[in-house]
Subunit: 213 residues, 2 copies
DNA sequence: ATTTATCTTGACCGTTTGGTCAGGTTAAAA
DNA sequence: TTTTAACCTGACCAAACGGTCAAGATAAAT
C-alpha cells in the first residue's frame, strides 16, 4: 500500500537517513570548528547531534570519514562565493562583489570557515589534493584576469597573489578570529550595522589600495 | 672548590634547567602549532624535545601549564612588534614599519603565530584575559592615534578597527596559512625574494588604501 | 667524605579515546 | 502475515591519554 501513513512511498527510510546524516554533519562542523580534527571527539559530536555515539559510527564509518565530509561541504560553500568572480562587469564591481560574498559567507557560516582554518593551520593534511587542483586552478584563473586588468591600465600594478591572499585573510578573519574581535568590541559580537560598516571599509581600502577607486 | 671542572660556580644545575625548559618549550610550540591544545600530546612533545615524557612533567606540572607558558612567549614576541607603532615619525612610516615588523615576525617565528591562531580559532579560552587587558589597551591606543591622523587630514576617514584587523589578518596569514600558500606557489615555500615582494605589496595596498601614498 | 637537593626515567595507573558488536526495533517488500 | 533489510543503541574493548611515583644518578653544600 502506497497511500496509508505519512510517507507516500519508500522514501521514509531515506528521509530518516538524510536527516540524521545532516544532523550529525552539522554537529561535527561545530565540534571540529572548536577543536580541530585531533581535538574533537566522536562522543562530543554525538552529544551535540543528540544521538548515541554508536549511531554516529553507523552513518560515518570513522572519524576521518566524517571529517572529510565536513571539509567537502565547506569547500562547496567556498565555490559558491567563488562564482561571484565570474561575471563580466568592471573590475571594481567584480572585486567588491567577491569581497562582500566572502565576508557574508564568513558571517552566515562561521563554523565552516573555522574548520578550514584549523585544517590549513595544521598543514592541510586532508585537503592538499583539493587545494592543489580545484582551488589552485580557480586562483590561477583569477590571477590571469587581474593581470589583464593591470595590462589594460584599469588598476595599479600589484602582485595578484598578494592581493588575493589579502582578500582571503581579511574576509576569513571575521569568522576565524571572531572571539578576538568580540573581546575588542566590548565583549559583544559585531552587530549587523557594525559588520556592514566593516565590510564597506574592507572593500574601500582594498579597491582604493589597488587603484580601482 | 670553584675552579675544577667545566662550570665555574653553582650555575651548572641552573643552566641544565634553563636548557631543558627551553628545549621542551620549543618542542611544545611546534606540537601545539600543529595540533592545538587538545590535539597535542605530551608524549609527542617529549619525543620532539628528545627527553622522556616524565621529564616534561618534571619541568612543567601539567600540559595546561606548559601551554600557558608557550602562549606567554608568543604574546611577548607580539609586544615587541607592537613597539614599532610607538615612534613619532609620520603615519606612513609608522604603519609601514609595523606591517613589516609583523610580517617579519610571521616569517621568523611561524610556530608561535600558528599556536595563537589555534588558540583564537578555538575561542581564546586561555588568553581572553590577556586580550581583554593588554592587547585591547594597546589596540585602543593605536585606534586613537589613527583617529587623530584622520582628524588632522593626514589620511582617509576609514574605521581604524577595520584597518587594524586587516593588518592583523594579512600579516599573520603568511604564517598561519603557509601550507596553503606553499601549495599555490608550486609546492615551494616562498623564497626570500618572493616574501620581500609580498611584504612590499601588502604595505603598498594598505598605505594607498587609506590615502597615505 | 657525607649530606642534601636537584635531575632523570622506566614502569605504572585511572580515564578517555575511536571503534565494535550483539541484539533489538521499525518499516518496506513479498 | 511473514520475511527481509535498514535503523538503533547499551555495553564493551584495546589503545592512547595525562599524570604519578619510586628509585637511581648527579652535583652542590657541609
Amino acid at each position: 500500500m502506497t497511500a496509508s501513513g505519512r510517507p507516500a512511498n519508500s522514501t521514509h527510510k531515506a528521509a530518516i537517513r538524510q536527516e540524521n546524516e545532516a544532523q550529525i554533519l552539522a554537529a561535527a562542523e561545530r565540534v571540529f570548528a572548536d577543536y580541530g580534527f585531533k581535538g574533537a571527539t566522536t562522543a562530543r559530536i554525538a552529544e551535540v547531534a543528540n544521538v548515541p555515539k554508536a549511531n554516529v559510527h553507523y552513518y560515518f564509518a570513522t572519524k576521518e570519514a566524517l571529517y572529510r565530509r565536513v571539509i567537502e561541504n565547506v569547500c562547496s560553500q567556498w565555490l559558491e562565493a567563488a562564482m561571484t568572480f565570474e561575471n563580466t562587469a568592471n573590475p571594481a564591481t567584480i572585486l567588491r562583489g567577491y569581497i562582500e560574498a566572502k565576508m557574508d559567507l564568513s558571517r552566515s557560516n562561521p563554523y565552516g570557515s573555522r574548520v578550514w582554518a584549523h585544517e590549513i593551520v595544521r598543514g592541510a593534511k586532508f585537503s592538499s589534493d583539493y587545494i592543489s587542483t580545484t582551488v589552485k586552478d580557480w586562483l590561477d584563473g583569477r590571477v590571469r584576469i587581474i593581470r589583464r586588468w593591470i595590462a589594460e591600465g584599469k588598476m595599479d600594478d600589484v602582485e595578484p597573489y598578494s592581493l588575493m591572499y589579502m582578500i582571503f585573510a581579511t574576509t576569513q578573519h571575521y569568522a576565524d578570529f571572531s572571539s578576538q574581535i568580540e573581546i575588542f568590541n566590548d565583549n559583544q559580537p559585531l552587530s549587523d550595522a557594525q559588520f556592514a560598516d566593516a565590510k564597506e571599509n574592507v572593500v574601500r581600502i582594498i579597491l582604493r589600495g589597488v587603484g580601482l577607486i
